[in-house]
């Protein structure tokens, strides 16, 4: 098999898009939080809680959509707590977010062990790849783009919705103003705390949903280590995507395909050290977020800066 063969391309690109899906969903939500001025580092923990909620709901209901809803609701509830800490208490966003991830791991491990660890319920019902007549049979793009699961298509629809909401609505304008210049936004009658609450809640709901996506469309199991840093990767994708949903989608797919490329290249006998191949996605992401290729100017100016209205 060579890198130009159809089998190689289909296997690589399909895997890459699948790997990019949950990361993109979490990154989309985080874009809203960061555009409002909130650096929500707690999304790694929210992903884990969402994954657990979807797994437990699936075991008890056997449904596919209800677990996704449960994951979203769990993410929303966790984000409500985080938003209170970030916006109302005005605690350090970095410290709260990181500590929340540790707390979430503890909660997930405890709940899982108390409810299921000894029951060994095994895999749950999962979303299957959807075969779309005609287009799924097209060479290369058919299996790559049109034989994916519904959560991936839902995520792609959300990219369009997110772009429209952020850049073509009054809500989006207010949210971005809260993240760029909260004092000016306040003077213009925009409630900065409200915008920041909404941004964090959207981020939490999306991260919870991404956890559900991971379980219901990719793994079908739960272990308290399954998120494996994907929340942190989503944070990198937001910067890589220059705080834009479209670019985040592109960035997530670049990351996913780079991640999948190192798997495929190992089978080609390239004689490159595996350490080098394994580092490809991370090197690409680090270079992209480093600012070497521009993009520093689009970072929300008031990101991670708590806001207090002057008396």
């Amino acid at each position: 098999m060579s890198v130009f063969s159809q089998a190689f391309l289909v296997t690589w690109l399909t895997a890459g898009i699948r790997l990019g899906g949950p990361v993109l969903l979490a990154a989309l939500g985080e874009t809203f939080a960061e555009r409002s001025g909130i650096l929500n580092l707690g999304i790694e923990g929210i992903l884990l809680l969402g994954a657990l909620a979807s797994y437990l709901t699936s075991i008890h209901t056997g449904s596919l959509w209800l677990p996704l809803f449960a994951a979203m609701l769990t993410g929303f509830a966790a984000a409500l707590f985080l938003a209170w800490m970030y916006v109302t208490v005005r605690a350090s966003q970095v410290v709260v977010g990181l500590v929340f991830n540790v707390l979430a791991l503890g909660i997930a491990a405890t709940v899982y062990r108390r409810t299921l660890a000894h029951a060994s319920p095994g895999p749950i019902a999962m979303f299957q790849a959807v075969h779309i007549p005609w287009v799924s049979d097209l060479p290369i793009v058919g299996p790559t783009l049109f034989s994916q699961t519904l959560p991936l298509y839902l995520t792609l629809v959300l990219v369009v919705v997110a772009h429209f909401a952020l850049f073509h609505t009054r809500f989006g304008l207010g949210l971005r103003a809260a993240g760029e210049n909260p004092r000016a936004a306040d003077a213009a009658g925009i409630s900065v705390p409200r915008m920041r609450y909404l941004g964090t809640l959207i981020s939490g709901a999306a991260a919870g949903l991404a956890g559900g996506y991971l379980v219901l469309a990719q793994i079908g199991l739960f272990r308290d280590s399954i998120v494996a840093g994907q929340g942190f990767i989503a944070l990198g994708i937001v910067i890589f995507g220059r705080w834009s949903p479209w670019k985040a989608a592109l960035a997530a797919m670049v990351f996913g395909t780079c991640d999948a490329l190192q798997l495929s290249l190992q089978l080609l006998g390239t004689h490159l050290p595996e350490e080098l191949l394994l580092s490809i996605p991370y090197v690409v992401t680090i270079l992209a977020i480093s600012g070497i290729f521009g993009g520093r100017d689009v970072r929300p100016a008031a990101l991670a800066v708590p806001y207090a209205k002057e008396a």
Binding site: G122, L221, S225, L267
Partner: protein
Amino acid sequence: MRISRRSFLNSASTLALGGLIPRAPAQGRPTKVVLLLTGVINDGGWGQLAYEGIERLRADPRFYATYAEDITLAQVQQVARGYSDDGFDLILGHGFEFSSALLDVAPDYPHQAYFVTSFIPNHPVPRNVMFVNMGYFDAAYAAGALAALISNKRQAVGFVGGADDPNQQRMKLAFIAGAQRTVPGIRGLGIITGDYDNAAKGREAASTLIGTGCDVIWHAADVTGLGVIQGVAQSASSAHVKVMGCYSDQTSLAPNHMATSFEMNLAGMVTTTADAVANRTFTGGTEWHPTVDKMWLLRAGSHGKYNPSLVSAQAWSTFQQLWSSLAQGKIDVSAAVAALQQ
């Protein structure tokens, strides 16, 4: 070098009491055992199986057994020292990550025993530290051979590894050697994912191997391996693809695809070591070499040792001969791996 009177007296008393040989627990007090893990006890594999050994010890009144999980690399030495200060008779570090930390800590507690589930390093080790060769490479060679024997297409079989460490790299090579030597003409392939906890990546590694023509896949990647099993079960061409489990019996995860599982007898390793400390037969400074058939058990849920709808009787019979030869040391896996590397 100045030797203080205190250090001289300490050294003399240590020698008089038998050097660095661990002392048996005081009469009437249970042997205190702690299992240290960088992972978790419910991972369904590596950590869980060792923890089952702790549970067995808890049922035995001769022992007081506990565990500490999710220990970060930065905490390893501090945690090991803490349990040593608390007077634990046996401190089991589960994984190579504990090797250097326990080697540092052990000389300060000469009457306590330390056990690392990893290969012995190339330099001398204290007499209260024991290592173990768990027959990874023999097991990987056997897995490669069995994968080749049960392959329907006889084109390619695949291995998925976890972290990019020398052990996993060598397991990959042993798997490939086992496959290619057992069924000439078949290709052995391997992917190292770089991660033991990324099930999503494990799934894609399986998909990549299937896309390359593999119809039997074995993993040694812990939680990442759970994704490998799902990757086989969810693959569009999964009807013809078989998977083999590792570390624990994973039949329930994909009953229609799981040919067998190479289960590590880690619980037995924990209880045997604890017994040795309690009975004062623990021999530190060495590497324990259990044979592959004692360290690895073949399991397939209610089917017994293998799933007969996925493994033919003839293939199993051939495999049994190879398994027996490995246990008797008649197959030189190191030589097979070296030949592959040339």
